[in-house]
Symmetry: C2
Subunit: 204 residues, 2 copies
């Protein structure tokens, strides 16, 4: 079996999907969680792009969250049945990414005034975006795309807790029960469930 290490921070964020994909694939991996301060700054120059996550497979390094998720999805047969379905997964993930990045930019903004203005702006946009994602799920029998389990579901399920925090919507899954159902679906897969039982608990 390959020797695999995933480097990221002590968080789920958009990277938990990579962890659950590895678990689904039956791939043992070292789950290295770096401290955001000094440890990360020391490690950063050794990464391919100065960013995390980095997945190391037998010495070869893979960077950026969505590229890694898609790559693992392909490896584990979670990329749809044809180019049309692979496209639909990418399209729907791109849409969700737009919302996630908007929310995370605001969440991590240190200037209180900018943060407040962005929050006001976001509050006008989120309902329509969330409704659109919900409609996506309804159209796809509860999955993100292609009416079947794909890497997009692992990606979304893994970051659901993170989304609640960065969207500042603790009641997100009460409003959108379909979001919770995806997470339940992914986390009830035996290999994922077994891995998650051993994973550290993090709020984000």
């Amino acid at each position: 079996m390959s020797k695999v290490t995933l480097y990221y921070f002590q968080a789920k964020a958009a990277v938990e999907g990579i962890r659950t994909l590895l678990a689904y694939g039956g791939q043992e991996f070292e789950d290295r969680r770096l401290e955001f301060g000094e440890e990360w700054l020391k490690f950063k120059p050794n990464t391919p792009l100065g960013t995390l996550p980095v997945l190391n497979i037998d010495g070869k390094e893979y960077a950026t969250c969505l590229a890694i998720s898609r790559y693992l999805g392909k490896k584990y047969g979670l990329i749809g049945d044809n180019d049309e379905e692979a496209f639909e997964i990418d399209q729907n993930v791109d849409y969700i990414t737009d919302m996630r990045q908007r929310a995370s930019t605001t969440y991590w903004e240190r200037d209180e005034e900018i943060k407040k203005k962005q929050q006001e702006e976001n509050a006008k946009l989120y309902p329509a975006m969330l409704d659109k994602i919900n409609a996506m799920l309804e159209k796809n029998d509860g999955y993100i795309a292609a009416k079947k389990l794909t890497w997009a579901d692992f990606h979304f399920a893994g970051m659901l807790d993170y989304l609640k925090v960065i969207l500042q919507m603790p009641d997100l899954t009460d409003k959108y029960p379909a979001f919770k159902k995806i997470a339940e679906r992914v986390y009830s897969i035996p290999k994922v469930k077994a891995w998650a039982a051993t994973a550290p608990h993090t709020e984000l």
Copy 2:
């Protein structure tokens, strides 16, 4: 031949790569450029995700820029020779996208105070990001990834003028001649060249 229409605005931005990919594929298409105001707002509810670009192929709609670019890349044999190369393209495009989105957020920010603060922040980050992209090109014989022509080169070449504007660096290609070489390489492909000669000139 399929009946194809691309819906976007009167701009190159990150979507010109889709136009040049269609040209490369020998695909005739209607290049619909909507006015950003009323025309767009009237059109918006009829799009799959409330966003542009939308590519319509024989009545089937495809949305989001990167998903469409990757899909066309696959269709026209521009996705690398194996899963490792397809990954590398995705990874490097993800990195470039991070910079592009940061720059475009600031460029389109309407609050002058927020804009100024973001510009100061960005000024600290751009040099390292641009150097990283330049190193990417050097490592790949002048291409974005996989040491060969892929959809990533069309994507990057098409948005080079846009990057100059949103990064506020009119001298971008003087500083990074390798960026210009990609554009020259893509735009000297006969089918792309012929299409570009007929395309409207836009600053962005």
